[in-house]
């Protein structure tokens, strides 16, 4: 039997439905791998092995009884530890919420359980999702599985999700993305993940970092798996007033493999200028691959994107401080000092800054909409660099030096600011063997075209099929 821990979610669901494998075997294989590897990878904060095995037994009984099965029946799932789970602690990667046990599941957790998924546990993350490096001093720094000798960042804030899926500890994990926290770990760990349009997926029951910038979505090893999982998560939720009533299409139907005539705008300027030579070459190579398959590729710039950093800072710092103000007054010493510093910064952002940022946001949204009026998708690096060592503080980008934090988020956060959907997927490896990620950006609520482009690229290449070598 093939290695169940590196089978795709799509394949696992098919095999389970066809009775080729039992959900119990699938869950047990993943739990055994977690036991073997997670001592060094540090991806799980809470492992719910007994509950997962019980759910797997029930899933197996449903198969045997011939009951109707959900589209992800028996497929394991890891949850970033900011998704509420009924009866299981949800820490937000913090000491402050170390003992918080929600009474109910987040909406998307409930929906994925209804689709048949089995929760393995809660995944490590940056404390309260406030940082892109992926580090966590309370629960241990997750390790990027792509380097067995150097402890490299898995990228954040969904670092446990990224490292776990890359290492075969789960076929699917949920992340959240306020400035890139799905796409950054996907880029650094060689995964495929999608930040949907703002309003496409419910945030109800997900600990917030910044209400107007937070997006939730799946992290997987292929665009096809993203399509399957996103379809089960998305849709209107009365518990989240920002969700859209637009119907959710079957994203898997969009995966035709055909990009003939697809209009692709390669984002020059800020995006490619920022990238290192290896990243730039890989993304340009991906554009060429799509062009050879029949896509129509041109180049486009988004000049207003240079202010996305300032705008995002004003919005995130202010909204995050508003959420954390009470704890910051009473439990300041319990925060990771880096996170505390970022929260304190919010006190010095004025109301005028916040409104200017919201104006800049409208401006950028218009600019991205205009670029997409004549194109179906935009293409850019997801991160300008590959996975840094955890002690790194500075990086050399294509346009000069930058601190690691701002380097990691500079290319992803514009689309949190604008709200457009963006999928990160692997498009190469460095000479040192580290994954390189690119992002495909689409029109609002057109995740189908984004995933179609990503999937077509993955049918033409094998970057997404490469696996890290683990001890």
């Amino acid at each position: 039997m093939a290695d169940l821990t590196f089978a795709s979610a799509t394949e696992l669901a098919r095999m389970i439905a066809a009775r080729e494998v039992s959900p119990v075997e699938v869950v047990r294989a993943h739990l055994e791998r977690i036991t073997a590897l997670d001592g060094s990878l540090r991806t799980f904060i809470t492992l719910t092995a007994d509950a997962a095995l019980a759910a797997a037994a029930a899933a197996e009984a449903a198969v045997v009884a011939g009951r109707p099965l959900g589209p992800l029946h028996g497929v394991p799932l890891g949850l970033k530890d900011l998704y509420d789970t009924a009866g299981v602690r949800t820490t937000g990667g913090s000491r402050i919420l170390a003992d918080r046990v929600p009474a109910a599941d987040a909406t998307v957790v409930r929906r994925l359980r209804e689709a048949g998924m089995i929760v393995l546990g809660k995944l490590n993350m940056v404390e309260f999702a406030y940082g892109p490096e992926g580090l966590n001093p309370h629960y241990g720094h997750p390790r990027n599985p792509w380097d067995a000798t150097t402890h490299r960042m898995a990228g954040g804030s969904s670092s446990g999700s990224g490292a776990a899926v890359a290492a075969g500890l789960a076929p699917v994990a949920l992340g959240s993305d306020t400035g890139g926290s799905i796409r950054i770990p996907c880029s650094l760990c060689g995964l495929t993940g999608i930040k949907p349009t703002y309003g496409r997926v419910s945030r109800a029951g997900v600990l917030p970092l910044s209400w107007s910038m937070d997006h939730v979505g799946p992290m997987t090893r292929s665009a096809a798996d993203c399509a399957l999982v996103l379809g089960a998560m998305a849709g209107y939720d009365p518990a989240d007033p920002s969700t859209s009533v637009l119907p959710v299409p079957d994203y898997t139907v969009a995966l035709t493999g055909d990009v003939r005539g697809l209009r692709v705008g390669l984002l020059r300027g800020f995006f490619l200028e920022s990238a290192t030579a290896e990243v730039r070459a890989a993304v340009e190579g991906a554009a060429t691959t799509l062009e050879k398959a029949g896509a129509v590729v041109d180049e486009v710039a988004l000049p207003g994107v240079r202010h996305a950093g300032a705008g995002s800072l004003a919005v995130v710092a202010t909204e995050a401080l508003a959420y954390h103000a009470a704890w910051l007054r009473t439990r300041a010493a319990d925060y990771d000092p880096d996170v505390r510093t970022r929260l304190m910064l919010g006190a010095f952002v004025t109301g005028v800054h916040y409104v200017r940022a919201q104006q800049a946001r409208a401006l950028l949204r218009r600019e991205v909409d205009e670029a997409l009026a004549r194109r179906d998708v935009l293409l850019a690096p997801a991160t300008p660099i590959t996975a840094p060592a955890i002690e790194a503080r500075q990086a050399t980008l294509g346009d000069g030096p930058a601190d690691i934090r701002s380097a990691l988020i500079r290319l992803t956060r514009p689309f949190n600011f604008s709200g457009h959907p963006a999928c990160s997927l692997p498009c190469g490896v460095t000479a040192g063997g580290l994954p390189i990620g690119m992002q495909v950006v689409g029109r609002p609520f057109d995740e189908a075209t984004v995933l179609r482009a990503a999937d077509a690229y993955q049918r033409l290449t094998d970057w997404h099929a490469r696996r890290p070598v683990l001890a």
Binding site: T197, Y198, G199, S212, P241, S242, S244, V245, L246, G304, H307, G309, A310, G311, L313, A314, A317, L321, A325, L328, R329, T341, M344, L345, A347, F348, V349, H353, V355, R356, A357, Q358, Q359, A360, R361, A362, L363, R365, G419, P444, F445
Partner: protein
């Protein structure tokens, strides 16, 4: 704001927001606050006169 922020201003701003941070804590974050305020000042250079701020999402 183009002038570097001073400690007294930081004390007052933090106090208005309800935080009693020590001078040492404020001094430690002053370079970050300065850099951030310079970055935020860049928003004033954008052509925003005719742009209404985003307060509502595409709720379709």
């Amino acid at each position: 704001m183009s002038q570097p922020i001073d400690l007294e201003t930081m004390r007052r701003v933090a106090g208005l927001a309800g935080f009693e941070w020590s001078d040492a804590e404020l001094e430690a974050i002053r370079p970050l606050v300065d850099a951030s305020l310079r970055m935020l000042a860049g928003l004033e250079t954008l052509p925003l006169d005719e742009v209404e701020p985003t307060t509502q999402y595409r709720i379709l």
